[in-house]
């Protein structure tokens, strides 16, 4: 049984990155082969334009999976909430 919500990734964009990308959130079908945070970042960067610029290797982007800070090797699975944001500046 395919669950239309759980088969997708929820992507969230925050702070300066949200403004630069012109996107707050979206649901995507998990692309084949995109099973890690690093692969997802590369897949999004391949959209070109602001995506390519903001998510280019070397740009400081933090990524959280299901509300935990992740690194490039962190697995991404259907149903996950993945947030992309700049380094944090609270306190």
């Amino acid at each position: 049984m395919r669950d239309s919500v759980n088969a997708t990734l929820s992507l969230v964009y925050l702070a300066r990155l949200r403004e630069a990308l012109g996107a707050t959130s979206e649901h995507i079908d998990a692309p084949p082969g995109v099973t890690t945070v690093g692969a997802l970042r590369g897949w999004l960067a391949a959209r070109g334009g602001a995506w390519a610029i903001e998510l280019a290797p070397g740009r400081a982007v933090r990524i959280a999976v299901n509300h935990d800070l992740a690194d490039a090797d962190t697995p991404v699975r259907p149903g996950d909430e993945v947030a992309l944001f700049p380094p944090v500046t609270g306190g």
């Binding site: 925050l14 702070a15 944001f85 380094p87 944090v88 500046t89 609270g90 306190g91």
Partner: protein, 156 residues
């Protein structure tokens, strides 16, 4: 409640009194209060807006407090962080720690704010004479958090 994210201001005295409660084992209360400066990187700041990532913020702050409790002999800890519109001199954040002795309270308080500044999902946007700008993360904040990763010294 050890973690709160809110738009309203907070009363430091009342919050610390509530944190202590009537715990007679507490001999030390350490607190850090962060406030809004009117200048950042030589540019005047008229106002700021604080954004966060609801859901992750509370989880990250609770995790930092858990880390502090695992590392030091503290009785309790509290983090209140404001979001939304703030002006110079406004209070942004309160970290409070209670302990039997001051050493653990001071260390845990500094650890919590250092980790908050590098791991809790908050972002500041400042209003300057040249328009609004997102505050850039500082390498010095990463350095401050990194020193807590050093192995415990003989003082511990």
């Amino acid at each position: 409640m050890p973690v709160r994210v809110q738009t309203e201001d907070f009363d430091v005295g009342r919050e610390l009194a509530a944190l202590r409660g009537d715990d007679r084992s507490v001999g030390a209360v350490a607190a850090f209060v962060g406030t809004v400066r009117d200048v950042n990187a030589d540019v005047s700041v008229a106002a700021m807006t604080l954004e966060h990532y609801p859901g992750m913020t509370e989880k990250a702050l609770a995790s930092i407090i858990d880390d502090a409790k695992a590392r030091w002999a503290i009785a309790d800890a509290l983090v209140i962080h404001r979001v939304g519109a703030l002006r110079p001199a406004d209070q942004i954040v309160l970290v409070g720690v209670t302990s039997a002795h001051r050493g653990d309270a001071f260390a845990a308080c500094e650890f919590i704010i250092d980790y908050l500044k590098t791991r809790a999902p908050f972002w500041k946007k400042e209003e300057t004479p040249d328009g609004a700008r997102w505050v850039e993360a500082r390498a010095s904040d990463d350095d401050a958090a990194a020193r807590w990763r050093a192995p415990p010294g003989p003082a511990e």
